[in-house]
């Protein structure tokens, strides 16, 4: 991966954006960067990183036009997306950015921010799923059945499991009741799965 230039782009716009970044005050850029890095992997497509009001404020502080600010934000998130995708170390990051026209102090800023957030972000990205439904939580209740409308004096144990299934826009609860035998069956199946997982690690 290190031989490959991950910021290689023929777009002159990207270089222009980098030139703009170079002009921004370092401490201000650190703050912008730490804000953008929070949104990596969490952001929905088309979602804004800064609200309109915030962008206006930033324009005032940095003395930039709307378009200039936009291109800074875009270039920065492009760099972060690439870093996250290739999951590169902060040293490799520095050598990659050295190949661009980005100034040394800004490269340092990227390195600092990445070092601080890499583990958290990568963990988040790795657990990102494309599956429509994900098991989110489990609850259960264990009880002893004593009687029912058609029969008195029963003593049967049973357990109700609640599977909380989360999808992107809704939560579904799946309730399943188990008697002892059924639960034992489930347990044996889970043991099978565990065995397969053990062979992986």
């Amino acid at each position: 991966m290190s031989g490959h230039n991950i910021f290689e782009t023929t777009s002159s716009a990207f270089n222009e954006s980098l030139a703009l970044i170079n002009k921004v005050d370092s401490s201000k850029f650190t703050r912008i960067l730490s804000r953008i890095v929070q949104k990596i992997g969490v952001r929905e497509k088309g979602e804004r990183i800064f609200s309109e009001a915030e962008e206006e404020q930033l324009q005032g502080v940095l003395g930039l036009s709307t378009n200039q600010l936009r291109s800074i934000i875009e270039a920065t998130s492009f760099i972060l997306d690439q870093i996250a995708y290739y999951a590169i170390s902060s040293n490799a990051l520095a050598s990659q950015l050295d190949k661009t026209i980005l100034a040394k102090d800004k490269i340092q800023t990227f390195q600092n921010v990445w070092e601080e957030n890499a583990e958290h972000i990568l963990q988040q990205l790795k657990s990102k799923t494309v599956s429509p439904m994900v098991l989110d939580d489990i609850g259960w209740r264990f009880h002893l059945q004593m009687s029912q409308s058609s029969m008195s004096k029963i003593k049967q144990s049973s357990a109700i499991f609640e599977f909380n299934l989360k999808s992107s826009n809704s939560n579904e609860k799946m309730l399943l009741e188990f008697n002892r035998e059924q639960l034992q069956d489930l347990y044996l199946k889970l043991e099978d799965i565990q065995e397969k997982l053990d062979t992986l690690s």
Partner: protein, 224 residues
């Protein structure tokens, strides 16, 4: 000595009503009704699906038809009897057997309690035979036929290792896919992370352990 009849403190009206009829009807007629009651008890189900439901409807219809015919036949023979005598008889015998199953009364007590009601001995012998024969089957049936949340019918699973995704190039994390079908026929496919899988496995084994511990308590002799 203070044992209460399986019919309860007060004999139900449905059973009381049947006593005067039992005293004067023929044994063969009564046998017909008893066999109808047994087929009704065997067919009855709380949580029936469409097919079973239709079958059950058919059986009840047959019972209804036979009851009316039986009534008519009886009427021609003994005109002073009521039209709905067979229905009363059916209901009464149904109650006796239902309550016997409900309390799981032993055959001896079944006879003792019914003798106290002064049920004719010929009919009592028939009832005793029937009860001895169906007791176990019906108790099992009633125990398995109860209100339940859906149960797990099938569980299919798959263990994958994710290599990469559009978000990051190297993941190498195992992930479990499960497909469950419950007894209501609902199918669900969902993903389980390894952490969540451990949680599930831990909880299932914990409940299983609790069940086993409960079994060990001598005070609670669990029906298996």
């Amino acid at each position: 000595m203070d044992r209460i009849s399986f019919l309860g403190y007060n004999t139900p009206t449905e059973v009381k009503n049947v006593l005067p009829i039992l005293a004067k009807i023929e044994q063969s007629y009564c046998r017909q009704i008893v066999s109808l009651v047994v087929s009704y008890l065997k067919a009855k189900k709380i949580d029936s699906n469409q097919q079973e439901y239709q079958k059950f409807n058919q059986i009840t219809k047959e019972i209804h038809d036979k009851l009316s015919i039986a009534s008519q036949q009886q009427q021609t023979q003994q005109t002073q009897q009521q039209d709905d005598q067979s229905s009363i008889l059916f209901t009464g015998i149904y109650y006796i057997l239902k309550l016997a199953i409900k309390t799981k009364v032993s055959v001896e007590y079944f006879i003792t309690d019914l003798t106290e009601l002064k049920i004719p001995s010929t009919i009592l012998t028939d009832l005793q035979k029937v009860y001895t024969n169906i007791r176990k089957e019906l108790i099992d049936k009633v125990l398995s036929d109860k209100i339940l949340f859906p149960q797990l019918e099938t569980l299919k699973w798959r263990v994958d290792v994710i290599i990469s995704s559009s978000f990051t190039s190297r993941i190498l994390h195992p992930i479990i896919l499960m497909e469950t079908t419950d007894t209501k026929g609902n199918k669900r496919t969902f993903e389980v992370s390894v952490d969540m899988f451990h949680k599930l496995r831990y909880n299932v084994s914990k409940v299983l352990k609790d069940m086993e511990d409960l079994d060990q308590l001598p005070i609670l002799k669990i029906d298996k």
